[in-house]
Symmetry: C2
Subunit: 125 residues, 2 copies
DNA sequence: TTGATTTGTATTACTCTGTTGGAGAAATGG
DNA sequence: CCATTTCTCCAACAGAGTAATACAAATCAA
């Protein structure tokens, strides 16, 4: 019902993955990107597809089918891109995510924050 | 069930609020802090209490009753503090929050990110 | 001392999100 | 063809998010 509503944590991850994959955002690649963002937590493929469906229902993303590619098992993919609503809502919740980080980093100290920043960069290149 | 599980978005907000309030974390003050973090989104008081209950069930926070204070309407408060499990889980999900921010900031550009950082600091002091 | 006001806690009941597990379609390769 | 790979999608359940509302305990002021 509430169309302008806030995102759940997982929806946020999925939208972020789509954003960062740009032209190459489809089920499997989105799943891989989400796992990278959510590590060390595991994420099931089904969870991604269900969430994509719901985000499309809300008008936050749109999708279309591509042609098959000439590789083993290379069937048609359903590609996704962010719509205007999705951008706006993601923007909002990203700002909230940053606020959380800032507050926590302040309480637990700069040293702690720097450590986690490093670890993330090493693992994700 | 899953004790090491990940946090929902709202649980994360509530834990962060408790962390930043230190000695003065009780229902009403937590609610105020959560609204500050989640702005411009509105948050109901009931949502906070229900979430606090659930977090306590999971052992992430503990609570105790204080004595009434000598002010108008100053009845006994139920105060909260983070437990070890809560700290660990919050830490994890804070790192995820930062990853989301980093990815988005990279895609949408440094200029955009700087703007939001400024706005937040002004509003929250 | 009683009723209005302020501050605060708690519960109920519901919708929406998160997650698992598996079914099965469309491509290639021997 | 049959095995294998890549990929999409559904059903069903547990858990998180929210609104709405009831109620409890303190002060204030006449």
């Amino acid at each position: 019902m509430a169309q302008t509503d806030s995102l759940g944590q997982f929806e946020q991850l999925v939208l972020t993955a789509i954003l960062s994959l740009r032209e190459d955002a489809y089920g499997v690649s989105i799943h891989a990107q989400v796992e990278k963002l959510a590590q060390p937590r595991a994420v099931s493929l089904g969870a991604v597809y269900v969430t994509l469906d719901r985000l499309e229902d809300k008008g936050m993303v749109s999708s279309w089918l591509t042609d098959p590619t000439p590789e083993r098992g290379g069937r048609a993919k359903r590609c996704y891109r962010l719509e205007a609503v999705g951008e706006r809502v993601l923007q909002e919740s990203a700002v909230t995510a940053k606020r959380i980080w800032d507050v926590i980093a302040e309480v637990w100290g700069k040293e702690w924050a720097r450590q986690w920043g490093k670890k993330w960069r090493k693992e994700a290149g």
